[in-house]
Amino acid sequence: MQTRRRWEILVEAAIESLIRLCGVSAILFVFGIFFFVFREGAGFLFSGFNAREFFTSPEWYPTSQSHVRYGVLALIAGTASVTALAMAIAVPFGVGAAIFVSEFCGPRWKEALKITIELLAAIPSVVWGFIGLTVMNPLIMWGFGVPIGLTVLNGGVVLALMSVPIIVSIGEDAIRAVPDSYREAALALGVTRWQLVYRVLLPAAKNGLLAAVLLGVGRAAGETMAVLMATGHAVKIPTSVMDSVRTLTATIAAELGEAPVHSEHYQVLFIIGILLFSITFVVNLTADLVVRGIKRR
Protein backbone atom coordinates (compact mmCIF):
# COMPACT_ATOMS: atom_id res chain seq x y z
CA MET A 1 0.00 0.00 0.00
CA GLN A 2 1.26 3.48 -0.74
CA THR A 3 1.72 5.81 2.15
CA ARG A 4 1.20 9.54 1.78
CA ARG A 5 3.84 11.95 2.82
CA ARG A 6 2.82 14.46 5.47
CA TRP A 7 3.16 17.53 3.32
CA GLU A 8 0.91 16.01 0.69
CA ILE A 9 -1.81 15.62 3.29
CA LEU A 10 -1.39 19.22 4.42
CA VAL A 11 -1.45 20.59 0.87
CA GLU A 12 -4.53 18.52 0.14
CA ALA A 13 -6.31 19.95 3.18
CA ALA A 14 -5.21 23.49 2.33
CA ILE A 15 -6.47 23.29 -1.24
CA GLU A 16 -9.75 21.80 -0.11
CA SER A 17 -10.35 24.61 2.37
CA LEU A 18 -9.39 27.19 -0.28
CA ILE A 19 -11.96 25.77 -2.67
CA ARG A 20 -14.54 25.61 0.08
CA LEU A 21 -13.81 29.26 0.86
CA CYS A 22 -14.36 30.20 -2.78
CA GLY A 23 -17.68 28.42 -2.79
CA VAL A 24 -18.87 29.99 0.44
CA SER A 25 -17.58 33.41 -0.58
CA ALA A 26 -20.15 33.61 -3.36
CA ILE A 27 -22.90 33.51 -0.73
CA LEU A 28 -20.93 35.87 1.49
CA PHE A 29 -20.55 38.41 -1.32
CA VAL A 30 -24.25 38.37 -2.14
CA PHE A 31 -25.21 38.90 1.48
CA GLY A 32 -22.48 41.47 1.89
CA ILE A 33 -23.73 43.51 -1.05
CA PHE A 34 -27.31 43.34 0.15
CA PHE A 35 -26.24 44.35 3.64
CA PHE A 36 -24.17 47.28 2.32
CA VAL A 37 -26.97 48.57 0.08
CA PHE A 38 -29.52 48.14 2.84
CA ARG A 39 -27.37 49.94 5.38
CA GLU A 40 -26.88 52.97 3.12
CA GLY A 41 -30.59 53.34 2.51
CA ALA A 42 -31.82 52.21 5.93
CA GLY A 43 -31.57 55.60 7.62
CA PHE A 44 -34.27 57.15 5.51
CA LEU A 45 -36.19 53.90 5.14
CA PHE A 46 -37.11 53.83 8.81
CA SER A 47 -37.70 57.53 9.37
CA GLY A 48 -39.86 59.69 7.19
CA PHE A 49 -40.05 57.35 4.23
CA ASN A 50 -43.51 57.34 2.70
CA ALA A 51 -43.82 53.90 1.12
CA ARG A 52 -47.22 54.59 -0.39
CA GLU A 53 -45.98 57.70 -2.19
CA PHE A 54 -42.85 55.83 -3.24
CA PHE A 55 -44.67 52.97 -4.93
CA THR A 56 -47.76 54.65 -6.26
CA SER A 57 -46.71 58.14 -7.30
CA PRO A 58 -45.26 58.79 -10.75
CA GLU A 59 -43.74 62.10 -9.66
CA TRP A 60 -39.98 61.96 -9.23
CA TYR A 61 -38.68 65.33 -8.03
CA PRO A 62 -35.72 64.62 -5.75
CA THR A 63 -34.02 68.00 -6.22
CA SER A 64 -37.04 70.24 -6.09
CA GLN A 65 -36.59 73.47 -4.15
CA SER A 66 -40.22 73.63 -3.14
CA HIS A 67 -41.82 70.22 -3.02
CA VAL A 68 -39.62 67.16 -2.90
CA ARG A 69 -41.32 64.02 -4.09
CA TYR A 70 -39.92 60.50 -4.36
CA GLY A 71 -42.37 58.54 -6.48
CA VAL A 72 -40.90 55.70 -8.54
CA LEU A 73 -44.04 54.33 -10.23
CA ALA A 74 -43.00 55.81 -13.58
CA LEU A 75 -39.50 54.38 -13.19
CA ILE A 76 -40.83 50.91 -12.35
CA ALA A 77 -43.14 51.16 -15.38
CA GLY A 78 -40.13 52.16 -17.47
CA THR A 79 -38.03 49.19 -16.38
CA ALA A 80 -40.97 46.80 -16.76
CA SER A 81 -41.98 47.99 -20.22
CA VAL A 82 -38.48 47.97 -21.68
CA THR A 83 -37.67 44.54 -20.18
CA ALA A 84 -40.99 43.07 -21.33
CA LEU A 85 -40.53 44.32 -24.88
CA ALA A 86 -36.92 43.12 -24.93
CA MET A 87 -37.98 39.63 -23.83
CA ALA A 88 -40.87 39.56 -26.31
CA ILE A 89 -38.32 40.12 -29.07
CA ALA A 90 -35.36 38.18 -27.67
CA VAL A 91 -37.03 34.95 -26.55
CA PRO A 92 -38.43 33.87 -29.94
CA PHE A 93 -35.23 34.92 -31.70
CA GLY A 94 -32.96 33.42 -29.06
CA VAL A 95 -34.73 30.10 -28.68
CA GLY A 96 -35.16 29.86 -32.44
CA ALA A 97 -31.47 30.51 -32.97
CA ALA A 98 -30.59 27.97 -30.28
CA ILE A 99 -32.73 25.33 -31.98
CA PHE A 100 -31.22 26.19 -35.36
CA VAL A 101 -27.64 26.04 -34.12
CA SER A 102 -28.09 22.77 -32.27
CA GLU A 103 -30.40 20.87 -34.62
CA PHE A 104 -30.60 22.25 -38.13
CA CYS A 105 -27.18 23.67 -38.68
CA GLY A 106 -24.40 22.05 -40.67
CA PRO A 107 -21.19 21.45 -38.69
CA ARG A 108 -19.14 24.06 -40.56
CA TRP A 109 -21.71 26.81 -40.02
CA LYS A 110 -22.28 25.84 -36.40
CA GLU A 111 -18.91 27.01 -35.12
CA ALA A 112 -18.97 30.18 -37.17
CA LEU A 113 -22.48 31.02 -35.98
CA LYS A 114 -21.65 30.38 -32.33
CA ILE A 115 -18.59 32.60 -32.51
CA THR A 116 -20.51 35.41 -34.20
CA ILE A 117 -23.31 35.28 -31.66
CA GLU A 118 -20.83 35.37 -28.82
CA LEU A 119 -19.23 38.39 -30.47
CA LEU A 120 -22.55 40.16 -30.02
CA ALA A 121 -22.24 39.50 -26.30
CA ALA A 122 -18.79 41.06 -26.23
CA ILE A 123 -19.99 44.49 -27.36
CA PRO A 124 -19.84 46.89 -24.38
CA SER A 125 -23.20 48.18 -23.21
CA VAL A 126 -22.27 51.82 -23.70
CA VAL A 127 -21.62 51.05 -27.39
CA TRP A 128 -25.12 49.59 -27.58
CA GLY A 129 -26.44 52.80 -26.06
CA PHE A 130 -24.56 54.76 -28.68
CA ILE A 131 -26.04 52.59 -31.44
CA GLY A 132 -29.49 53.20 -30.01
CA LEU A 133 -28.87 56.94 -29.91
CA THR A 134 -27.34 57.46 -33.34
CA VAL A 135 -28.48 54.56 -35.53
CA MET A 136 -31.84 53.39 -34.21
CA ASN A 137 -33.10 56.89 -33.38
CA PRO A 138 -33.29 58.21 -36.98
CA LEU A 139 -34.31 54.73 -38.21
CA ILE A 140 -37.35 54.66 -35.94
CA MET A 141 -38.23 58.25 -36.78
CA TRP A 142 -38.05 57.49 -40.50
CA GLY A 143 -39.68 54.06 -40.31
CA PHE A 144 -42.61 54.86 -38.05
CA GLY A 145 -43.00 58.58 -38.70
CA VAL A 146 -42.87 59.40 -34.99
CA PRO A 147 -41.54 62.73 -33.69
CA ILE A 148 -38.72 61.17 -31.67
CA GLY A 149 -36.92 57.85 -31.82
CA LEU A 150 -35.65 57.54 -28.22
CA THR A 151 -38.45 55.35 -26.97
CA VAL A 152 -39.42 52.09 -25.34
CA LEU A 153 -39.07 50.49 -28.78
CA ASN A 154 -35.50 51.68 -29.14
CA GLY A 155 -34.53 50.51 -25.65
CA GLY A 156 -36.37 47.23 -26.10
CA VAL A 157 -34.66 46.38 -29.37
CA VAL A 158 -31.21 47.26 -28.02
CA LEU A 159 -31.77 45.18 -24.88
CA ALA A 160 -33.09 42.30 -26.97
CA LEU A 161 -29.90 42.35 -29.02
CA MET A 162 -27.90 42.28 -25.80
CA SER A 163 -29.86 39.38 -24.29
CA VAL A 164 -30.02 37.16 -27.39
CA PRO A 165 -26.43 35.86 -27.10
CA ILE A 166 -27.05 34.73 -23.51
CA ILE A 167 -30.28 32.98 -24.43
CA VAL A 168 -28.68 31.33 -27.46
CA SER A 169 -25.56 30.10 -25.63
CA ILE A 170 -27.35 28.59 -22.67
CA GLY A 171 -30.37 27.42 -24.66
CA GLU A 172 -28.17 25.68 -27.18
CA ASP A 173 -26.31 23.90 -24.39
CA ALA A 174 -29.62 22.84 -22.89
CA ILE A 175 -30.93 21.42 -26.15
CA ARG A 176 -27.68 19.64 -26.90
CA ALA A 177 -27.76 18.08 -23.43
CA VAL A 178 -30.90 16.16 -24.29
CA PRO A 179 -29.71 12.56 -24.69
CA ASP A 180 -29.41 11.25 -28.22
CA SER A 181 -31.57 8.29 -27.24
CA TYR A 182 -34.59 10.64 -27.23
CA ARG A 183 -33.79 11.76 -30.73
CA GLU A 184 -33.17 8.28 -32.02
CA ALA A 185 -36.36 6.97 -30.46
CA ALA A 186 -38.44 9.76 -31.96
CA LEU A 187 -36.91 9.39 -35.39
CA ALA A 188 -37.48 5.67 -35.20
CA LEU A 189 -41.17 6.43 -34.63
CA GLY A 190 -41.20 8.40 -37.87
CA VAL A 191 -41.45 12.05 -36.72
CA THR A 192 -40.39 14.94 -38.89
CA ARG A 193 -37.53 17.14 -37.74
CA TRP A 194 -39.80 19.92 -36.59
CA GLN A 195 -42.01 17.47 -34.67
CA LEU A 196 -38.85 16.14 -33.06
CA VAL A 197 -37.90 19.62 -31.89
CA TYR A 198 -41.34 20.72 -30.83
CA ARG A 199 -42.59 17.57 -29.18
CA VAL A 200 -39.47 15.92 -27.81
CA LEU A 201 -36.52 18.29 -27.45
CA LEU A 202 -38.19 21.45 -26.19
CA PRO A 203 -40.11 19.72 -23.39
CA ALA A 204 -36.98 17.81 -22.42
CA ALA A 205 -34.82 20.95 -22.39
CA LYS A 206 -37.47 23.06 -20.62
CA ASN A 207 -35.40 23.67 -17.49
CA GLY A 208 -32.34 24.84 -19.33
CA LEU A 209 -34.34 27.05 -21.67
CA LEU A 210 -36.16 28.63 -18.76
CA ALA A 211 -32.85 29.28 -17.06
CA ALA A 212 -31.57 30.85 -20.26
CA VAL A 213 -34.61 33.12 -20.56
CA LEU A 214 -34.35 34.19 -16.93
CA LEU A 215 -30.69 35.07 -17.31
CA GLY A 216 -31.71 37.14 -20.29
CA VAL A 217 -34.37 38.88 -18.17
CA GLY A 218 -31.77 39.53 -15.49
CA ARG A 219 -29.43 41.09 -18.03
CA ALA A 220 -32.18 43.26 -19.49
CA ALA A 221 -33.58 44.44 -16.16
CA GLY A 222 -30.15 45.29 -14.79
CA GLU A 223 -28.82 47.08 -17.85
CA THR A 224 -27.90 50.68 -17.21
CA MET A 225 -25.85 52.51 -19.84
CA ALA A 226 -27.68 51.26 -22.91
CA VAL A 227 -31.11 52.25 -21.59
CA LEU A 228 -29.80 55.55 -20.23
CA MET A 229 -28.96 56.61 -23.76
CA ALA A 230 -31.57 54.81 -25.84
CA THR A 231 -34.84 55.35 -23.99
CA GLY A 232 -34.86 59.15 -23.82
CA HIS A 233 -34.59 59.22 -20.01
CA ALA A 234 -38.03 60.77 -19.48
CA VAL A 235 -40.01 60.28 -16.26
CA LYS A 236 -43.30 59.13 -17.71
CA ILE A 237 -45.54 56.09 -17.58
CA PRO A 238 -45.50 54.82 -21.17
CA THR A 239 -48.83 54.51 -22.99
CA SER A 240 -47.34 53.12 -26.19
CA VAL A 241 -44.01 51.76 -27.38
CA MET A 242 -43.33 55.15 -28.93
CA ASP A 243 -43.06 56.91 -25.57
CA SER A 244 -39.80 57.85 -23.89
CA VAL A 245 -39.24 56.30 -20.47
CA ARG A 246 -36.67 56.17 -17.69
CA THR A 247 -35.55 53.01 -15.91
CA LEU A 248 -34.62 52.47 -12.26
CA THR A 249 -31.03 51.61 -13.16
CA ALA A 250 -30.55 54.72 -15.29
CA THR A 251 -31.92 56.90 -12.50
CA ILE A 252 -29.36 55.57 -10.02
CA ALA A 253 -26.53 55.97 -12.52
CA ALA A 254 -27.47 59.51 -13.46
CA GLU A 255 -28.17 60.87 -10.00
CA LEU A 256 -25.88 59.14 -7.52
CA GLY A 257 -22.90 61.31 -8.46
CA GLU A 258 -24.57 64.54 -7.48
CA ALA A 259 -26.44 63.42 -4.40
CA PRO A 260 -24.44 64.54 -1.38
CA VAL A 261 -23.35 61.48 0.60
CA HIS A 262 -25.93 60.38 3.22
CA SER A 263 -28.47 62.98 2.17
CA GLU A 264 -32.12 62.00 1.69
CA HIS A 265 -31.74 61.83 -2.08
CA TYR A 266 -28.71 59.55 -1.70
CA GLN A 267 -30.57 57.23 0.63
CA VAL A 268 -33.61 57.07 -1.65
CA LEU A 269 -31.34 56.05 -4.52
CA PHE A 270 -30.06 53.20 -2.37
CA ILE A 271 -33.64 52.24 -1.56
CA ILE A 272 -34.17 52.01 -5.33
CA GLY A 273 -31.14 49.71 -5.33
CA ILE A 274 -32.81 47.55 -2.69
CA LEU A 275 -35.93 47.50 -4.87
CA LEU A 276 -33.93 46.33 -7.90
CA PHE A 277 -32.22 43.69 -5.78
CA SER A 278 -35.61 42.44 -4.57
CA ILE A 279 -37.05 42.33 -8.08
CA THR A 280 -34.18 40.18 -9.35
CA PHE A 281 -34.43 38.00 -6.26
CA VAL A 282 -38.15 37.44 -6.75
CA VAL A 283 -37.68 36.66 -10.45
CA ASN A 284 -34.98 34.11 -9.70
CA LEU A 285 -36.96 32.57 -6.86
CA THR A 286 -40.06 32.21 -9.04
CA ALA A 287 -37.96 30.63 -11.75
CA ASP A 288 -36.43 28.20 -9.31
CA LEU A 289 -39.85 27.18 -7.99
CA VAL A 290 -41.25 26.79 -11.50
CA VAL A 291 -38.29 24.68 -12.55
CA ARG A 292 -38.75 22.53 -9.47
CA GLY A 293 -42.44 22.22 -10.23
CA ILE A 294 -41.65 21.09 -13.73
CA LYS A 295 -39.13 18.56 -12.43
CA ARG A 296 -41.59 17.05 -9.99
CA ARG A 297 -44.13 16.46 -12.71
Binding site: E8, V11, I15, T63, Q65, P147, I148, H233, E255, G257
Partner: protein
Protein backbone atom coordinates in the same frame (compact mmCIF):
# COMPACT_ATOMS: atom_id res chain seq x y z
CA UNK B 1 7.04 -2.47 -8.37
CA UNK B 2 6.36 -0.28 -5.42
CA UNK B 3 8.82 2.36 -6.68
CA UNK B 4 7.24 2.46 -10.12
CA UNK B 5 3.75 2.82 -8.67
CA UNK B 6 4.85 5.65 -6.44
CA UNK B 7 6.41 7.56 -9.31
CA UNK B 8 3.40 7.32 -11.56
CA UNK B 9 1.06 8.12 -8.69
CA UNK B 10 3.05 11.12 -7.55
CA UNK B 11 0.46 13.85 -7.31
CA UNK B 12 0.57 16.88 -9.53
CA UNK B 13 0.37 19.02 -6.43
CA UNK B 14 4.11 19.51 -6.07
CA UNK B 15 4.75 21.54 -9.23
CA UNK B 16 1.33 23.19 -8.95
CA UNK B 17 2.01 24.45 -5.44
CA UNK B 18 5.41 25.61 -6.54
CA UNK B 19 3.84 27.59 -9.37
CA UNK B 20 1.25 29.16 -7.05
CA UNK B 21 3.89 30.17 -4.52
CA UNK B 22 6.01 31.63 -7.28
CA UNK B 23 3.09 33.66 -8.57
CA UNK B 24 2.28 34.98 -5.09
CA UNK B 25 5.90 35.98 -4.42
CA UNK B 26 6.16 37.68 -7.82
CA UNK B 27 2.99 39.71 -7.37
CA UNK B 28 3.97 40.79 -3.84
CA UNK B 29 7.36 41.93 -5.10
CA UNK B 30 5.84 43.94 -7.91
CA UNK B 31 3.24 45.52 -5.64
CA UNK B 32 5.65 46.47 -2.87
CA UNK B 33 8.61 47.18 -5.09
CA UNK B 34 7.46 50.64 -5.98
CA UNK B 35 8.63 52.61 -8.93
CA UNK B 36 11.82 54.57 -8.82
CA UNK B 37 10.68 57.33 -11.10
CA UNK B 38 13.26 59.94 -11.87
CA UNK B 39 10.72 62.59 -12.94
CA UNK B 40 9.97 65.46 -10.54
CA UNK B 41 6.54 65.11 -8.94
CA UNK B 42 3.83 66.89 -10.96
CA UNK B 43 1.29 69.00 -9.14
CA UNK B 44 -2.18 67.80 -10.04
CA UNK B 45 -5.22 70.05 -9.77
CA UNK B 46 -8.58 68.26 -9.84
CA UNK B 47 -11.23 70.32 -11.59
CA UNK B 48 -14.73 68.82 -11.72
CA UNK B 49 -18.28 69.95 -12.22
CA UNK B 50 -20.37 71.83 -14.68
CA UNK B 51 -20.94 70.20 -18.01
CA UNK B 52 -21.67 73.62 -19.49
CA UNK B 53 -18.13 74.64 -18.60
CA UNK B 54 -16.35 71.38 -19.40
CA UNK B 55 -15.15 72.40 -22.87
CA UNK B 56 -13.99 75.75 -21.51
CA UNK B 57 -12.25 74.12 -18.55
CA UNK B 58 -10.53 71.69 -20.90
CA UNK B 59 -9.38 74.52 -23.17
CA UNK B 60 -7.96 76.33 -20.12
CA UNK B 61 -6.24 73.17 -18.89
CA UNK B 62 -4.62 72.53 -22.25
CA UNK B 63 -3.42 76.12 -22.62
CA UNK B 64 -2.16 76.18 -19.03
CA UNK B 65 -0.16 73.00 -19.62
CA UNK B 66 1.95 75.00 -22.07
CA UNK B 67 2.36 77.89 -19.61
CA UNK B 68 3.17 75.77 -16.55
CA UNK B 69 4.23 72.25 -17.60
CA UNK B 70 4.88 71.11 -14.03
CA UNK B 71 1.20 71.57 -13.16
CA UNK B 72 -1.42 69.23 -14.60
CA UNK B 73 -5.07 70.25 -14.45
CA UNK B 74 -7.44 67.30 -14.72
CA UNK B 75 -10.90 68.24 -15.93
CA UNK B 76 -14.08 66.22 -15.78
CA UNK B 77 -17.76 67.01 -16.17
CA UNK B 78 -20.67 65.44 -14.37
CA UNK B 79 -22.82 68.50 -13.79
CA UNK B 80 -22.58 71.41 -11.38
CA UNK B 81 -24.31 69.35 -8.69
CA UNK B 82 -21.70 66.62 -8.99
CA UNK B 83 -18.85 69.12 -8.74
CA UNK B 84 -20.29 70.81 -5.69
CA UNK B 85 -20.98 67.46 -4.03
CA UNK B 86 -17.34 66.53 -4.62
CA UNK B 87 -16.28 69.86 -3.11
CA UNK B 88 -18.43 69.13 -0.05
CA UNK B 89 -16.59 65.84 0.37
CA UNK B 90 -13.24 67.51 -0.16
CA UNK B 91 -12.27 65.33 -3.12
CA UNK B 92 -11.60 68.07 -5.67
CA UNK B 93 -9.50 71.24 -5.66
CA UNK B 94 -11.77 73.31 -7.89
CA UNK B 95 -15.47 72.81 -8.62
CA UNK B 96 -16.90 74.34 -11.79
CA UNK B 97 -20.50 75.46 -11.47
CA UNK B 98 -22.94 77.21 -13.74
CA UNK B 99 -25.06 78.11 -10.73
CA UNK B 100 -24.32 79.41 -7.26
CA UNK B 101 -23.70 77.19 -4.28
CA UNK B 102 -26.80 76.87 -2.11
CA UNK B 103 -26.57 77.78 1.59
CA UNK B 104 -27.13 74.18 2.69
CA UNK B 105 -24.35 73.00 0.39
CA UNK B 106 -21.95 75.54 1.88
CA UNK B 107 -22.97 74.39 5.36
CA UNK B 108 -22.35 70.76 4.40
CA UNK B 109 -18.90 71.67 3.08
CA UNK B 110 -18.07 73.45 6.32
CA UNK B 111 -19.23 70.43 8.32
CA UNK B 112 -17.28 67.88 6.28
CA UNK B 113 -14.05 69.74 5.59
CA UNK B 114 -14.03 72.69 7.99
CA UNK B 115 -13.77 75.18 5.13
CA UNK B 116 -16.37 77.26 3.34
CA UNK B 117 -16.54 77.36 -0.47
CA UNK B 118 -14.90 80.45 -1.95
CA UNK B 119 -16.56 81.78 -5.06
CA UNK B 120 -14.77 83.07 -8.17
CA UNK B 121 -16.71 84.39 -11.15
CA UNK B 122 -14.86 83.41 -14.31
CA UNK B 123 -17.17 84.35 -17.16
CA UNK B 124 -20.74 84.54 -18.36
CA UNK B 125 -22.93 82.23 -20.35
CA UNK B 126 -26.12 83.07 -22.14
CA UNK B 127 -28.60 80.20 -21.92
CA UNK B 128 -29.82 79.74 -25.47
CA UNK B 129 -33.15 78.19 -26.47
CA UNK B 130 -32.62 75.81 -29.38
CA UNK B 131 -35.16 74.60 -31.91
CA UNK B 132 -34.83 72.66 -35.11
CA UNK B 133 -33.99 74.53 -38.30
CA UNK B 134 -37.37 73.53 -39.79
CA UNK B 135 -39.24 75.27 -36.97
CA UNK B 136 -40.65 78.61 -38.26
CA UNK B 137 -40.47 80.26 -34.81
CA UNK B 138 -37.93 83.09 -34.37
CA UNK B 139 -38.61 84.45 -30.93
CA UNK B 140 -40.19 83.41 -27.68
CA UNK B 141 -40.99 85.03 -24.35
CA UNK B 142 -40.09 83.75 -20.90
CA UNK B 143 -43.78 83.29 -20.11
CA UNK B 144 -44.22 81.08 -23.18
CA UNK B 145 -41.19 79.03 -22.16
CA UNK B 146 -42.74 78.55 -18.75
CA UNK B 147 -46.02 77.35 -20.24
CA UNK B 148 -44.11 74.77 -22.21
CA UNK B 149 -41.76 73.52 -19.50
CA UNK B 150 -43.41 74.01 -16.13
CA UNK B 151 -45.32 71.46 -14.11
CA UNK B 152 -49.05 72.00 -14.24
CA UNK B 153 -49.03 73.81 -17.59
CA UNK B 154 -51.06 72.19 -20.33
CA UNK B 155 -49.35 73.36 -23.52
CA UNK B 156 -48.20 70.31 -25.48
CA UNK B 157 -48.53 71.27 -29.13
CA UNK B 158 -46.82 73.88 -31.29
CA UNK B 159 -50.19 74.93 -32.70
CA UNK B 160 -51.26 76.07 -29.21
CA UNK B 161 -48.46 78.62 -29.40
CA UNK B 162 -49.59 79.73 -32.84
CA UNK B 163 -46.74 78.00 -34.66
CA UNK B 164 -47.50 75.99 -37.76
CA UNK B 165 -44.94 73.21 -38.01
CA UNK B 166 -44.16 71.62 -41.40
CA UNK B 167 -44.79 67.89 -41.89
CA UNK B 168 -47.28 67.74 -39.03
CA UNK B 169 -44.61 67.56 -36.32
CA UNK B 170 -47.05 69.28 -33.99
CA UNK B 171 -46.18 67.66 -30.68
CA UNK B 172 -43.68 69.66 -28.65
CA UNK B 173 -40.74 67.41 -27.80
CA UNK B 174 -39.30 68.76 -24.57
CA UNK B 175 -35.57 68.29 -24.18
CA UNK B 176 -34.11 69.06 -20.79
CA UNK B 177 -31.11 68.20 -18.63
CA UNK B 178 -30.77 65.77 -15.75
CA UNK B 179 -31.27 67.10 -12.25
CA UNK B 180 -27.56 67.24 -11.41
CA UNK B 181 -27.06 69.97 -13.99
CA UNK B 182 -26.47 73.61 -13.06
CA UNK B 183 -28.14 74.55 -16.33
CA UNK B 184 -31.26 72.67 -15.18
CA UNK B 185 -31.25 74.45 -11.84
CA UNK B 186 -30.66 77.87 -13.41
CA UNK B 187 -33.45 77.39 -16.00
CA UNK B 188 -35.83 76.27 -13.25
CA UNK B 189 -35.15 79.41 -11.22
CA UNK B 190 -34.91 81.96 -14.03
CA UNK B 191 -37.64 80.78 -16.38
CA UNK B 192 -40.09 78.63 -14.41
CA UNK B 193 -39.88 80.80 -11.34
CA UNK B 194 -39.05 80.06 -7.76
CA UNK B 195 -40.95 77.15 -6.27
CA UNK B 196 -41.98 75.59 -9.56
CA UNK B 197 -40.78 72.33 -11.03
CA UNK B 198 -40.31 70.96 -14.50
CA UNK B 199 -43.07 69.06 -16.24
CA UNK B 200 -42.51 65.30 -16.13
CA UNK B 201 -41.93 63.57 -19.45
CA UNK B 202 -39.12 65.73 -20.84
CA UNK B 203 -36.18 63.87 -22.31
CA UNK B 204 -33.44 64.48 -19.76
CA UNK B 205 -30.09 64.45 -21.48
CA UNK B 206 -26.76 64.03 -19.81
CA UNK B 207 -24.78 66.93 -21.25
CA UNK B 208 -25.10 70.31 -22.93
CA UNK B 209 -23.95 68.89 -26.24
CA UNK B 210 -26.49 66.04 -26.11
CA UNK B 211 -29.37 68.50 -25.84
CA UNK B 212 -28.34 70.35 -28.99
CA UNK B 213 -27.68 67.12 -30.88
CA UNK B 214 -31.11 65.72 -30.06
CA UNK B 215 -32.79 68.99 -31.06
CA UNK B 216 -30.91 68.97 -34.37
CA UNK B 217 -32.23 65.47 -35.17
CA UNK B 218 -35.83 66.04 -34.02
CA UNK B 219 -37.97 68.55 -35.95
CA UNK B 220 -40.51 69.12 -33.18
CA UNK B 221 -38.00 69.55 -30.36
CA UNK B 222 -37.13 72.48 -28.12
CA UNK B 223 -34.20 72.49 -25.70
CA UNK B 224 -31.99 74.80 -23.66
CA UNK B 225 -28.22 74.76 -23.47
CA UNK B 226 -25.18 77.01 -23.31
CA UNK B 227 -24.74 79.47 -26.17
CA UNK B 228 -21.35 77.98 -26.99
CA UNK B 229 -22.89 74.67 -28.05
CA UNK B 230 -24.62 75.95 -31.18
CA UNK B 231 -24.18 73.93 -34.35
CA UNK B 232 -25.29 74.87 -37.88
CA UNK B 233 -28.20 72.41 -37.81
CA UNK B 234 -30.10 74.20 -35.04
CA UNK B 235 -31.60 77.63 -34.58
CA UNK B 236 -31.25 79.83 -31.51
CA UNK B 237 -34.44 81.68 -30.62
CA UNK B 238 -34.45 85.30 -29.58
CA UNK B 239 -35.84 85.63 -26.07
CA UNK B 240 -38.02 88.43 -24.72
CA UNK B 241 -38.42 88.88 -21.00
CA UNK B 242 -42.09 89.76 -21.41
CA UNK B 243 -44.52 89.06 -24.25
CA UNK B 244 -44.60 92.02 -26.60
CA UNK B 245 -41.19 93.39 -25.59
CA UNK B 246 -38.11 93.24 -27.78
CA UNK B 247 -36.60 89.82 -28.07
CA UNK B 248 -32.80 89.61 -27.91
CA UNK B 249 -30.45 87.03 -29.34
CA UNK B 250 -27.94 85.23 -27.08
CA UNK B 251 -24.77 87.10 -28.00
CA UNK B 252 -21.76 88.40 -26.09
CA UNK B 253 -22.93 92.03 -26.36
CA UNK B 254 -26.47 91.28 -25.20
CA UNK B 255 -25.13 89.38 -22.22
CA UNK B 256 -22.75 92.13 -21.12
CA UNK B 257 -25.33 94.89 -21.45
CA UNK B 258 -27.92 92.74 -19.63
CA UNK B 259 -30.57 92.84 -22.37
CA UNK B 260 -30.61 89.07 -22.82
CA UNK B 261 -32.89 87.89 -20.01
CA UNK B 262 -31.42 84.45 -19.28
CA UNK B 263 -27.69 84.91 -18.91
CA UNK B 264 -25.83 83.59 -15.91
CA UNK B 265 -22.36 83.92 -14.47
CA UNK B 266 -20.01 80.94 -14.47
CA UNK B 267 -18.23 80.13 -11.25
CA UNK B 268 -15.26 78.21 -9.97
CA UNK B 269 -15.32 77.28 -6.28
CA UNK B 270 -12.46 76.30 -3.99
CA UNK B 271 -12.50 75.22 -0.35
CA UNK B 272 -11.35 78.24 1.60
CA UNK B 273 -8.84 80.67 0.11
CA UNK B 274 -6.80 78.98 -2.63
CA UNK B 275 -3.05 78.69 -2.18
CA UNK B 276 -0.07 77.66 -4.24
CA UNK B 277 -0.66 76.10 -7.64
CA UNK B 278 -4.46 76.46 -7.41
CA UNK B 279 -4.18 80.19 -6.71
CA UNK B 280 -1.75 80.70 -9.60
CA UNK B 281 -4.13 78.83 -11.91
CA UNK B 282 -7.14 80.89 -10.86
CA UNK B 283 -5.19 84.12 -11.32
CA UNK B 284 -4.22 82.95 -14.81
CA UNK B 285 -7.87 82.16 -15.61
CA UNK B 286 -8.80 85.73 -14.67
CA UNK B 287 -5.98 87.19 -16.77
CA UNK B 288 -6.36 88.45 -20.36
CA UNK B 289 -5.05 85.17 -21.75
CA UNK B 290 -7.58 83.15 -19.80
CA UNK B 291 -10.47 85.42 -20.74
CA UNK B 292 -9.48 85.31 -24.43
CA UNK B 293 -9.96 81.56 -24.21
CA UNK B 294 -13.44 82.18 -22.76
CA UNK B 295 -14.38 84.19 -25.81
CA UNK B 296 -12.80 81.68 -28.19
CA UNK B 297 -14.80 78.85 -26.60
CA UNK B 298 -18.08 80.62 -27.31
CA UNK B 299 -18.76 82.15 -23.90
CA UNK B 300 -18.77 85.71 -22.62
CA UNK B 301 -15.59 86.95 -20.91
CA UNK B 302 -15.71 89.08 -17.78
CA UNK B 303 -16.04 92.75 -18.60
CA UNK B 304 -12.71 94.49 -18.31
CA UNK B 305 -12.59 96.84 -15.32
CA UNK B 306 -12.29 100.53 -16.28
CA UNK B 307 -8.78 101.67 -15.53
CA UNK B 308 -5.85 99.48 -14.61
CA UNK B 309 -6.18 95.77 -14.07
Amino acid sequence: MKTRLRRSNRPVTAPLVGLLLGAVVASVTVACGGSTSKQPAKTVIQDTGSDTMVNLAQAWAEAYAKVAPQVSVEVSGGGSGTGIAALENGTVDIANASRQVEPQEAAAAKKNTGKEPREFMVGYDALAVYVSKSNPMEEISLAQLATIYAEGEKVTKWSELGVKMPDGADEIILVSRQSNSGTYAYFREAVLGKGRDFKLGSRDMQGSKDVVELVSKTPGAIGYSGMGYAIPEVKQLRVASKAGETAYAPTVENTLNHTYPIARPLFMYTLGEPTGAVKTYLDWVHSDVGQDIVRASGYVPLPKPGAGQ
